[in-house]
Amino acid sequence: MRLGLVIDLDVCVGCHACAIACKQWNASGTTGPLSDYQPYGAEPSGVWFNRIRHFEVGEYPHNKTINFPMSCMHCEDAACVTVCPTGASYKRAEDGIVLVDQDKCMGCNYCSWACPYGARELDRASGTMKKCTLCVDRIYDETIPIEERQPACVLTCPAHARMFGDFDDPDSAVSRAVREREGYQLLPELGYNPTNHYLPPRKAPPIPTENLGQPGFKERLKTFANKLVKR
């Protein structure tokens, strides 16, 4: 199995709901708590597994804002695991999820240097590295209904911009979406082979705005009246 996410950039509305749901679920999950620093102070900051950035593509008037959620890509060739000197970072053989063992991490930050996607954040309260677990404590939980055994971000997304599934299964929703919508990976030149894929915004045909046809009867009547009445 090779579990991961597909993010549809055509649909993401940039509401940050996935990030909030992620923080809520994982604050009490396997790697929680996720510390906040000065939450009500002048410089609020803290540990998050999932962050949404916003990019502007193209130049006015042919521009577009694209909302860009990013969490751990659960890379196939995850250098964060290779470089970790303590063995705290590991990739599960059975489903490809990359995790950090909080009891082994010494907080050297080396794995965060190796990750090109900014997926790892040091928790300064515990001194250990934290990262997206793909909600490993949720997706295998047999006490919740089967349709809820999904990562918190996927469940919560109001726009359905996120899909979760097995990339090794060619018939899974994620595999099909990547195939049909030309899903792609970020920073492919670095060779990490990230599992998570992004679906590009669709290229919609332009809506005509000129030569919209003859004016209707009401329009012609108004024009006629305007000609009659001197102002």
Binding site: S45, V83, P85, G107, W113, G118, S126
Partner: protein, 310 residues
């Protein structure tokens, strides 16, 4: 990258210590300039060990969770950081044996030289591993080059040679070979550093905001980073120094690190006096070099925080 002082001090101090140790051993083996006395060897070895230990202790300072540091020896199969730890620790018994036997002067020449040879090999491998911690990262273009290990080795030996010259100056040996050793390493280190600065000036195969986002048909600009204040990522990787300062610092690196020591050495000749001042100035230059090495490195994650290319 954010330059952490503990790491800067660690790489400079232990680099000089390992360089000094290796050169001390070679000088002893080849009886350079008539051969150092046993006392000089033990003093030099002790200085090297102090530098190395101080560096290693300082490196622990940047760990957020040092109580797990002992686990860092476990992943030597894949991690250069782990390898560095393992090699550094295996270095000590041999190095202590060599320095200790030199101090006791028991006359066990064969054993002495064997221990020294093994320790010297481990010293080289350790410095190489330290440099590979940085050179192996594909995420930081400025580090991902064989020039990094070359620079670390050259600078470690250069600073080590300076200290060795000071030690040689205290005794009966012919000073000339030690003096020329310093000059040779100075020129090599300056050349390699110059090459490195030249190389990072012209990006090869850099990642851009286009490959980072996948939008390759139009200009892409970061519109909003999605957080109101800095995060771990912006603190760790977002360190920016103005180009103006980078240039001034590079000039300082060359002046203090190489030019002033060179001029001083050349005009003083092998009978150089005030060598300690030269060594101190050179060390300051190397500290600045190491600071720049971190500060000038740009991590690809900056593409998600507004950089156009890295």
């Amino acid at each position: 990258m954010h330059p952490a002082f503990s790491v800067i001090f660690f790489t400079v101090a232990s680099g000089a210590g390992f360089g000094l140790f290796a050169l001390l051993y070679l000088a002893d083996l080849l009886q350079l300039g008539g051969g150092l006395s046993r006392q000089q060897v033990s003093v030099g070895g002790a200085i090297a060990l102090v530098l190395i230990i101080a560096g290693l202790l300082s490196s622990v300072g940047h760990l957020a969770n040092p109580k797990n540091a002992w686990r860092a020896f476990s992943r030597w199969r894949t991690s250069w950081l782990s390898r560095e730890g393992v090699f550094a620790v295996t270095f000590f018994p041999f190095a202590f044996g060599y320095v200790g036997l030199s101090f006791l002067d028991l006359g066990l020449e064969g054993l002495l030289l064997t221990l020294g040879a093994l320790a010297t090999l481990l010293a080289w491998v350790t410095v190489f591993s330290t440099s590979m911690i940085y050179a192996c990262l594909k995420t930081i273009r400025q580090w991902n080059t064989p020039l990094v290990p070359a620079n670390y080795l050259a600078l470690g030996h250069y600073t080590g040679a300076l200290i060795l010259m000071l030690i040689a100056n205290q005794g009966e040996v012919d000073r000339a070979p030690y003096y020329f050793l310093v000059l040779a390493f100075l020129v090599a280190a300056a050349f390699l550093k110059g090459l490195y600065y030249f190389w990072i000036g012209s990006p090869v195969a850099a990642s851009t905001i286009h490959t980072a986002t996948g939008f390759t048909r139009a200009q892409v600009k970061l519109f909003d980073a999605g957080h109101t204040h800095g995060t771990f990522l912006t603190q760790e990787f977002g360190f920016q120094i103005a180009r103006r300062w980078a240039l001034a610092l590079r000039i300082f690196v060359f002046l203090a690190g190489f030019v002033i020591p060179f001029v001083w050495l050349v005009q003083a000749g092998p009978e150089v006096s005030g060598g300690a001042v030269v060594a101190l100035i050179a060390l300051l230059g190397v500290l600045a070099e190491r600071w720049l090495f971190f500060a000038e490195a740009r991590h690809v994650v900056n593409l998600y925080h507004g950089a156009q290319r890295c």
